[in-house]
């Protein structure tokens, strides 16, 4: 087993276990911290796939900005203690079973699909994920969506202020 494979399995296990802990944690603050662990694992996957720009953006935007916003809101509402009323057991069971069925069907579909059999995602090589290459394409072909996204941010900012304002 090569080092790449060991890193892949380690990061996958870390992502799955942390994602499950997000579900099972009673305390919302612990859920946020486990979700940050998931994001670190996914960033590790990006680095393994040589998509370094996305790895750094994922860490800065998701683990840095969005999760701090979540923590901030949870602590603002003082939800540290467990006050979640539980759904009844049958609803939980139905949710878990339907999610598990979806996973089972999709996995069996993937395993017998001939189109992707034997295809390899290249790891550690290829320079399409480097920032120079992505920046050239972003500012040549995707300038208009990029500028529109700045308008989207402006409207989101104004929307958040208007919604959150005490009337």
């Amino acid at each position: 087993m090569s080092a790449t494979q060991i890193i892949f399995w380690f990061l996958s296990a870390l992502a799955l276990v942390s994602a499950l802990m997000v579900l099972f944690s009673k305390n919302p603050v612990h859920s946020v911290l486990w979700l940050i662990a998931v994001f670190f694992a996914i960033s590790g996957h990006y680095i393994l796939l040589n998509a370094q720009f996305l790895a750094i953006v994922n860490l800065i935007v998701y683990a840095g900005a969005i999760m701090v916003l979540f923590l901030f809101v949870i602590m603002l509402m003082n939800l540290n203690k467990d006050m979640e009323s539980q759904k009844n057991l049958w609803m939980k069971l139905a949710g878990t079973i339907s999610g598990g069925c979806l996973l089972m069907i999709l996995v069996s579909l993937v395993r017998q699909s001939p189109e992707i059999a034997g295809k390899i995602a290249e790891v550690k090589t290829g320079d399409i994920g480097l920032i120079g290459n992505l920046g050239k394409v972003l500012f040549n072909e995707y300038v208009v969506p990029f500028e529109i996204s700045s308008v989207l941010f402006l409207s989101a900012m104004i929307g958040a202020i208007v919604i959150g304002k005490k009337d």
Partner: protein
């Protein structure tokens, strides 16, 4: 790495997110599970972009196939950041009005 491994990992993360949306009642945790699903999709897009690059680079050494997918991931992150700011503002407003973060109280919208 075979692409199936990445697909199955992403599917597992996505389904964990779906189960979280279905079984939890805390609206913040539901929101975090939606973020988890978005990240599973991002991981899958990056893996597919590297798969297409690996196929294209056999014929053409300087091929840039797969760059678009990584830019799509970038735009998904941009939209997710905007979505989170508005969503958390709605949650704060909801908490201010009802002093609860239970999703069930939203069923009063139907009256």
């Amino acid at each position: 790495m075979p692409i199936q491994y990445y697909i199955i990992l992403s599917l597992a993360l996505f389904c964990i997110g779906i189960v979280g949306v279905l079984v939890r009642r805390n609206v913040i945790i539901v929101f975090m599970c939606i973020e988890l699903m978005l990240n599973a999709v991002n991981l899958l897009l990056v893996a597919f972009s590297k798969m297409h690059h690996a196929i294209a680079v056999v014929n053409d050494k300087a091929s840039a196939a797969g760059t678009d997918a990584q830019l799509f991931v970038f735009f998904i992150m941009v939209v997710a950041a905007a979505e989170v700011s508005v969503g958390l503002a709605i949650i704060v407003m909801m908490y201010r009005n009802t002093h609860s973060v239970d999703v069930n109280f939203l069923n009063r919208l139907k009256n």
